[in-house]
Structure formats: structure tokens, C-alpha cells
């Protein structure tokens, strides 16, 4: 119908292009509607229902959301996820930039160093989780051994409610390689004349980085922060593998995603789980908007 209404305003060529273009992108259109739009609204609807998976959903209004506000495990999940995101995302960005800057200093054997940093990030997450699980093991694990070499008595890591999240954050730094490659590509695009000019004006190395290099790669930093944030909110596999899906000890690694999975696939409360998904979604959207707003003042888009 819409096509008919618009027809008088489109030239023959436009119309031909439109039909061809839509045909080419039709796999995306179908996928977008079937796998994104429809489930998106279904999940919104489910979030207002009581839906034990074997029966059909019954409308219960805001009850799921009200219950979540007083659900201690949901609050724990919120706290643990925020804790993880708050540390893992900025630390990952700083560590990634640091490594990329090191690599950008005309080092010999660049591709070897880059491979060393990059390989962990394409390793199956399950493999990563299992290896680190064994590295964190207080009995015979390598991390506490390395710490003992410098005279530190290591904590119980994944067995300790205080140290389990720091352990996960440390482990997340092992997967920073993708970001390193992205930052390095961005750094290599920074015109050398800019830092040279700054240097002629008397800027020291730190000032060159702060006032020239970082602003030049700021769009890429924003990109990695946003994708990192979304990733952190969906942080699931590592915890699921390392704790057998429990979020132990004492719910200290119970992420929002883990509780969501438990609610849906262990307790079969699809409505309750959908409400959690929507709260997560709203939080992610709010943080993305904040990042974009803040970045509007900080990020430099090359005069665009």
C-alpha cells in the first residue's frame, strides 16, 4: 500500500532502485522483523504476565517489576553486574590503550607481540574460563604461586565472596586483544605531523598523549566503551562455566544475566525473566545515551 501512495513522487529510476535495493536487503528485513521486532515486543508483553512455560501467559500488570524491586537476588545481580562493568570496562580500555601505544612505538617484531595480545580474545570463552578457574585455584594454582614469589599470600579468589569479582575482572583483561588491535589501527591513523607539531610547541610526551593522541582516537574509544558496556551487561559464559551456573560463592558472582537464565531455565518463570531483561535493557540504553551525551563534549570527530 505504501509503495502505491508514494509512487507519484518517485521517478521511474528511483522506483526501480527501491525495488532492487529492498530485494537485496530482504534477508535483513525478514530477520529484523522475525528475530528482533517481534520477540522485542513479545518480551515486553511477557514481562507483564505470569508465564510458567508450560501454561499460557496471564496478565498480571506490574507485579513482576514490583517483585523484582524486593528480590534480594535480583538486587545482588544488579550490584554484581554494576561492580563488574564499572571496573572491567574502564580498566580494559586503559590496558588496551596502553598496550596499543606500546605497540605503536616502532617496536621490532610487531606482529609477534600483537599475536600474543590478540590470541586470547579469539579463544573459546569456555576454554578461557576453565584455564583461569584452574589458575585461581588456591591449592596448586599458578596465580597464588606467582604472588607468593613476591611475598604475597594470595586470597581464595573464586572461593571467596570478596575476591571472586576481582578475579573475574582480572581474567577479563586477558581478553583485551581485540580492543588492542582496534586502538592500534586508530593510533596508526593519527598523523605524525600532529604530535611533531605539539612537540615543537614544547609539549612533553604526556601532554602529547593527552592533548593530541587521545583526542584523535576518541571516537574509537567511545566505540569500544559502548560495546564493552553492552558486553559487560551480558557477561554470562565465564560465570556460568566457572560456577556451574550458580553465581557462587554466596551469590557474589550472580550476574543479572545469570539470574535471568536461572529464572527462565531453572525456575521456568518466563514472565519474571522477561521483566528482568527489560530492566537490563533500559539500563543499557540509559548508559549508552549518557556515554553519547558526555562524549559529545569530549570526542573529536575530525571536524565532521
Amino acid at each position: 500500500m505504501k509503495l502505491h501512495l508514494k509512487r507519484p513522487r518517485l521517478s521511474h529510476q528511483d522506483r526501480h532502485g527501491l525495488i532492487t535495493g529492498l530485494l537485496f536487503i530482504s534477508p535483513w528485513i525478514v530477520g529484523f522483523l522475525v528475530f528482533r521486532v517481534v520477540p522485542f515486543f513479545m518480551s515486553l508483553y511477557f514481562s507483564f504476565t505470569f508465564y510458567p512455560v508450560l501454561e499460557s501467559p496471564t496478565w498480571i500488570g506490574l507485579a513482576n517489576y514490583r517483585n523484582l524491586l524486593t528480590d534480594g537476588r535480583f538486587i545482588s545481580g544488579l550490584y554484581n553486574t554494576a561492580y563488574y562493568a564499572l571496573f572491567a570496562v574502564p580498566l580494559g580500555a586503559c590496558f588496551g590503550i596502553l598496550l596499543a601505544m606500546l605497540l605503536n612505538m616502532k617496536v621490532k617484531g610487531l606482529s609477534i607481540w600483537r599475536t600474543i595480545f590478540y590470541l586470547p580474545s579469539i579463544t573459546p570463552v569456555v576454554a578461557t574460563a576453565l584455564v583461569w578457574l584452574w589458575m585461581f585455584n588456591p591449592r596448586g594454582g599458578i596465580i597464588n604461586y606467582v604472588l607468593s614469589l613476591v611475598g604475597i599470600r594470595g586470597p581464595g579468589w573464586l572461593g571467596s565472596p570478596e575476591w571472586a569479582k576481582p578475579a573475574l575482572i582480572l581474567m577479563s583483561l586477558w581478553g583485551v586483544g581485540t580492543a588492542v588491535v582496534i586502538y592500534l589501527a586508530a593510533l596508526q591513523d593519527v598523523p605524525r605531523e600532529l604530535t611533531e607539531a605539539a612537540q615543537l610547541d614544547g609539549a612533553n610526551a604526556g601532554q602529547q598523549i593527552w592533548f593530541v593522541t587521545l583526542p584523535m582516537i576518541s571516537p574509537v574509544i567511545l566505540f569500544t566503551l559502548i560495546t564493552g558496556l553492552i558486553g559487560a551487561f551480558q557477561y554470562f559464559t565465564e560465570v556460568h562455566v566457572m560456577t556451574g551456573g550458580t553465581g557462587s560463592p554466596a551469590d557474589s558472582t550472580l550476574m543479572m544475566s545469570i539470574y535471568l537464565w536461572q529464572s527462565a531455565f531453572q525456575f521456568f518463570k518466563m514472565g519474571y525473566a522477561s521483566a528482568q531483561a527489560w530492566i537490563m535493557f533500559v539500563i543499557v540504553v540509559i548508559f549508552t545515551v549518557i556515554l553519547f551525551r558526555v562524549s559529545g563534549r569530549v570526542v573529536y570527530y575530525g571536524g565532521r
Binding site: 532502485g17 529492498l22 528482533r36 520477540p39 511477557f46 599475536t115 588491535v181 562455566v241
Partner: protein, 298 residues
């Protein structure tokens, strides 16, 4: 930063103007650079060494303090056990049953869609492409419960269909990557073919796709790795152990066999990583360029 300092000094004054003090500073910075690289590399390499070392230990050696790096004797048998106890070969076969169709689906669907955005001119194209990019931000957890219920109704739970079928309908990340590549190809190629009366589909298939092989290879690689590494999808859709993938199978070994047999689990883990590493070394440039491409205009 020292090397940049030296670059400026070189380009301006030539090497002879380097003072002794500068050379000492420069030398120290140069050494510091490599010390830092080695230090950080140790952090990245240690887990690999630990993985291989653990996979070759006997149960007693697993919990010895101080930890042993080189087991004695080296227990290759752990690898045999990974096949015997955990049916590792079944997991590999199952994973390939998902990964290979997914690779074909991803290459076909994403190149079609990217072509529609990159090389066909139509009203509203850029607005629709912005929508494609916006869906990158939509987190998967919002949609997975309804999707699970839909696939359940279709009788697809406990089959590979939920893991493969969606791949046929394009992925915003790959569309973005291929679109960038297609836009870089000269428009004259298409114009010349159009003068000869070729249809858009013919141009896509006979001219653009053959030129886009490197970009298609990047998509194929990333999709293969994505399917090989996926955990969440198999976890919720596959209940029958005979259908388990490598990732799911290994994770399941951990709950089944526990800590005393951790060496078997590590042996299976090593084997799950090897294909990915081999792929990386064969296609290193594709990886690096593909990643860099996606980050550039984010």
C-alpha cells in the same frame, strides 16, 4: 614516546646532532619499552603454558605446592581419555554440523544485504542502514526468551535449527564490514557492466563477489569462530548430550568429572583451542584487517 622523539630529531637534525645525554635517555627508554612488552606478554602467555602443562599431569601433580611446570612422566593418556570419557570427537563433529552451514549462510546473506546498502541507490537507504547499526546496540537478552518460546513451538529445541537458521538473515556487524569493503570498489566496474546490459544480480555475483574474496573470508572466519566458540546458544537449545558442541561438552565435563580429573578437561580444552589457533596463523592478516575495519568508523 621516545621513538617519536628520535624520529623528530632524526628528520630535523640528522643523527650526528644526538648528544650523549640524549643517547643514554633514548637507550633507556628503548630498553624500558621492551621490558614492558615482555612483562605484559608474560601475563598473556602464562595461561597457555599452564593450560598445556595441566593437560599433561597426573591427578597427584594437580594439587602439588609449589606447582609443577613440567609433569613427570608426561601423561599423554589424558588426551586419549578426553576422547574416551567425553566423546570429544562427537562434540567436534556436532560443532562442525553447526559451523559449516552457518559459514555458508553468513557469507551469502550478509553479502547480499551489504550489496543492497553499498551499491544500489534507493530512496531511504541511509536511514535504513542507520537502523541496521542501531540494532547492534540491542542486547540479545531482550529477545532470547520469546525466541526460545517460538523455536520451542516450532519443535526446533534439541535440533541445530535455532543455531543455524537465524544466520541466514544477516548480522549487522558483518553487513557493516562488507558494506565498507563494497563501497571501496570502483563504481565504474558496475557502470561498465550495466552498459553491457547486466542485471544488478549478475553484477553482484560475477563482478563484485569475486573481488570481495578477502572480505568474504573475514566474514567466514568470524562466523566459524563465533559458531565454534558459542556457548549460550547450545546451552539453552541443546538438551540431549549426543548433540553437544565442543564448548558445551567441555563445560559439561567440568560438572561431571570435577577437580580430580581436571587434566582430562584441560586436554579437551587444549584440543578445542587448537583449531582456532591454526586458523589464526593461516589467516592472520585477514583477522587484523577485519577487526581494524570494524573499529574505524564505529
Amino acid at each position: 614516546m621516545a621513538s617519536q622523539t628520535s624520529a623528530v630529531a632524526l628528520s630535523q637534525d640528522g643523527q650526528h646532532r644526538h648528544s650523549a645525554r640524549y643517547r643514554v635517555f633514548h637507550g633507556t627508554a628503548e630498553v624500558a619499552k621492551y621490558v614492558a612488552l615482555v612483562f605484559f606478554s608474560a601475563f598473556f602467555i602464562l595461561p597457555w603454558v599452564w593450560m598445556v602443562s595441566t593437560s599433561l599431569k597426573n591427578p597427584q601433580e594437580l594439587v602439588v605446592w609449589p606447582p609443577i611446570w613440567i609433569p613427570n612422566p608426561i601423561r599423554w593418556d589424558n588426551y586419549v581419555q578426553a576422547f574416551a570419557q567425553a566423546e570429544f570427537s562427537v562434540y567436534v563433529l556436532n560443532t562442525l554440523k553447526i559451523a559449516i552451514p552457518s559459514v555458508i549462510a553468513a557469507v551469502l546473506s550478509n553479502s547480499l544485504v551489504a550489496y543492497g546498502f553499498a551499491r544500489v541507490r534507493w530512496p531511504g537507504r541511509d536511514a535504513v542502514f542507520a537502523l541496521v547499526l542501531a540494532t547492534l546496540i540491542l542486547p540479545g537478552f531482550v529477545t532470547f526468551i520469546p525466541l526460545y518460546i517460538i523455536f520451542h513451538r516450532l519443535g526446533w529445541v534439541n535440533t541445530y535449527a535455532p543455531l543455524v537458521i537465524p544466520v541466514f538473515f544477516a548480522n549487522p556487524f558483518f553487513v557493516f564490514l562488507l558494506r565498507q569493503f563494497f563501497m571501496g570498489l570502483p563504481i565504474e566496474l558496475s557502470d561498465a557492466a550495466k552498459v553491457d546490459g547486466a542485471s544488478e544480480l549478475a553484477i553482484f555475483w560475477r563482478i563484485i563477489l569475486p573481488l570481495a574474496k578477502p572480505a568474504l573470508a573475514v566474514v567466514a572466519l568470524f562466523q566459524f569462530i563465533g559458531s565454534w566458540n558459542d556457548y549460550f546458544g547450545p546451552l539453552i537449545y541443546l538438551n540431549d548430550k549426543a548433540l553437544y558442541t565442543v564448548s558445551l561438552g567441555i563445560a559439561n565435563m567440568r560438572t561431571t568429572y570435577g577437580f580430580m580429573n581436571f587434566a582430562w578437561i584441560m586436554a579437551a580444552t587444549v584440543m578445542s583451542v587448537v583449531p582456532i589457533i591454526v586458523l589464526f596463523f593461516f589467516a592472520q592478516r585477514l583477522f587484523i584487517e577485519g577487526i581494524a575495519l570494524t573499529g574505524l568508523k564505529g
